[in-house]
Symmetry: C2
Subunit: 483 residues, 2 copies
Amino acid sequence: MASLLRATATWGLFPWRGYCSRQGKLSKDFVEALKAVVGNPHVSTAAAVLQQHGHDESIHRCQPPDAVVWPQNVEQVSRLAALCYNQGVPIIPFGTGTGLEGGVCAVQGGVCINLTHMDRILELNAEDFSVVVEPGVTRKALNTYLRASGLWFPVDPGADASLCGMAATGASGTNAVRYGTVRDNVLNLEVVLPGGELLHTAGQGRHFRKSAAGYNLTGLFVGSEGTLGLITAATLRLHPVPEATVAATCAFPSVQAAVDTTVNILQAAVPVARIEFLDEVMIDACNRHSNLNCTVAPTLFLEFHGSKQALAEQLQRAEEITQYNGALNFSWAKEAEERNQLWAARHNAWYAALALRPGCKGYATDVCVPISRLPEILVQTKEDLQASGLTGTMVGHVGDGNFHCVLVVDPEDAEELRRAEAFAYQLGRRALALHGTCTGEHGIGLGKRKLLQEEVGAVGIEIMRQLKATLDPRGLMNPSKVL
Amino acid sequence: MASLLRATATWGLFPWRGYCSRQGKLSKDFVEALKAVVGNPHVSTAAAVLQQHGHDESIHRCQPPDAVVWPQNVEQVSRLAALCYNQGVPIIPFGTGTGLEGGVCAVQGGVCINLTHMDRILELNAEDFSVVVEPGVTRKALNTYLRASGLWFPVDPGADASLCGMAATGASGTNAVRYGTVRDNVLNLEVVLPGGELLHTAGQGRHFRKSAAGYNLTGLFVGSEGTLGLITAATLRLHPVPEATVAATCAFPSVQAAVDTTVNILQAAVPVARIEFLDEVMIDACNRHSNLNCTVAPTLFLEFHGSKQALAEQLQRAEEITQYNGALNFSWAKEAEERNQLWAARHNAWYAALALRPGCKGYATDVCVPISRLPEILVQTKEDLQASGLTGTMVGHVGDGNFHCVLVVDPEDAEELRRAEAFAYQLGRRALALHGTCTGEHGIGLGKRKLLQEEVGAVGIEIMRQLKATLDPRGLMNPSKVL
């Protein structure tokens, strides 16, 4: 236990024991004041509800808020923020709860503002390739809505996350190599600032494609993880649905061959839409969990978007490159059903990994390095994983240099948790040493604050602290996250 | 004269008369201290040099600094910043001086830091598609350097601007529709903060493609127009040189037909690399100035990048769309020479416009609107231009919804300047009314501060002011710009 506490003190990745800085319950009067804003049925202090809102999908220990409220509109969010802020009560924004870095844990208690009741699609400007969504609209809901328009929102982190939550996290996923991350696809944000004021980061109602007008406030709030304000609407950039789509899988004799293939495809300017790496453990888990029949070897899942004619050429080039790099096999999935099965398997990789040890919980690392450094860090990480004795698989958005180890650990086994934490921290430091980042798309949340300091250095952290202090002088917006 | 002063007080676009807030000359001791940092030959207080550094390429009145210094390395920049800041002396960063919004005018005097002597390409990571450049490296110098690598930096504002200056401005240009703006292509910045401290916005040496680590400091400094710090190095994202390139010109019977064509091409997901609009006045000027032989009508210049096979398909689709929209003619420029002549003409459009009235100066407006609103604003603007009696042409990066009126005015004619100012302000407000921005790529500089307030609203301006005050508490970094 002594070594565990020491480890926690050093890395702080999973503060799952001996950690309590709760400020205590809310007064009855304060809860009544919340009810006066949103109405009785939209406030809860029931233990089960608080528990449900105190954690995300990660291993981070549940830290419940003192109350959960469901505002119905932005005016209510604004009044809630003002109320909480004036009373010194922490505010924690909550979307779908599908985060992976403990971003919703109520470390200091406070009021969780669940934004899922605000789920309207406010405005579609098809000719301008843009849409405005409230924070309860999820990625899949938006794409279902868009079906008839010939447009789609391509940023796809796997989970059916809320789009504003994705903006808050700086999410990306499998399509980023072609369409960019959420950062590249947010045109404007409506934000309730900590004191309740309403900010439109690019000006109210604006949805231009580019601007050089003043400081980039949109960029500042994307990825701020709820620590600067509550995102109550997002204007997103849409893309035309590709005329045709083809997917493929390809197994390789080594990690190096799979990564070399990725670099060659990018260098050849083949406009690949997705290029995903899965190690042999992950492939094996997917074969079992999702009924695939893939060769158990380091593998790339690829997808190409374009006109039928353009696709034929992309396919040919990609296949040539895989062969040049010694691919073991190559298999196209031209039909939608087959393709959907493949990507469902990739998106269910998290659950496939969890199925390796029923009853255990998952933790996904999230480093991102310059592509040229991918082979060495993947090989080193594989060795570290074996040396650690942990159960883990590797998947990656290799076109971006981003990969995840999905560690499957027993949350009741303190020693195993310690090993998982040590492994994740070591991997983060490896990535930093290779000019990479400790998080490509999951955010800093609770567990990577120490790594963030190493990543951006003392001056960078100081500037971030100053920005936080400027926008949230009382430190009440999602406290203890990021910094 | 009274009406002129009133106009200036209202709009503040061209503060060319009765405007002086200079703080007076620098002391001899201070100039000696500057020399002690950079060496005697690298400091100048000669009137001609000061004049040369007091203006950019726009109509904004020359406002010379009190001294110009040429640091040779980042340590010197840091010492200069600390020296000036501690003594309360304004600091104005200077690159190639090719800005269009008076961003280098020394409104309060001070020290102009000319960064062009720092012109090394520090690091090329070809496999990672990234490069690190000092602030004196221009766009063309970089692309010349990259020639053998198979990579290029596509952001192209026309002028051979310094890349760090482009980052400071939030520049874009003709390729943005395909490759994004400079904002999308900066991975990391080295910044000397006002007090002399050195910040690496994404952490020192890092050049990953994406990250979710903390607040987006890179995004905050891109487009900050030298008001938050001095950019002393930029890590840029590179792209593979396209296998083949084809350009085309196409004349239309109306502005509406040209814009409809643009929207249709984007909707069809044809990956057009450039799509530029020129009105008939601009085409006429280009025909004369650049020896083109284009039909005098609203025209699109297009360019496509890709493999030969992919190009053939893109060309065919684009041509079909232009015909569908009633194009008057369509002409391919497949050979490099012909293509280069076309783009040289487009990039020299500024000078072609100036040649319409020898001895006059140019001012380019820079609004950007949602694409669907382009036809109406282009038609309205054409009417406004005719009503104003001003000489002006229109060119636009219509794929982004961004267009420029190049006004050619006599700087000695106060009444004409007033009309130009009124026209530019009216156009800015038209764009804002259509959910657009007053500046797509030139920045706010001196002339659009009033429009910025209207664009982002009171809360947006207040947040920007707070950010400025946080990073530059003494208000000495390029004062009177942006805010």
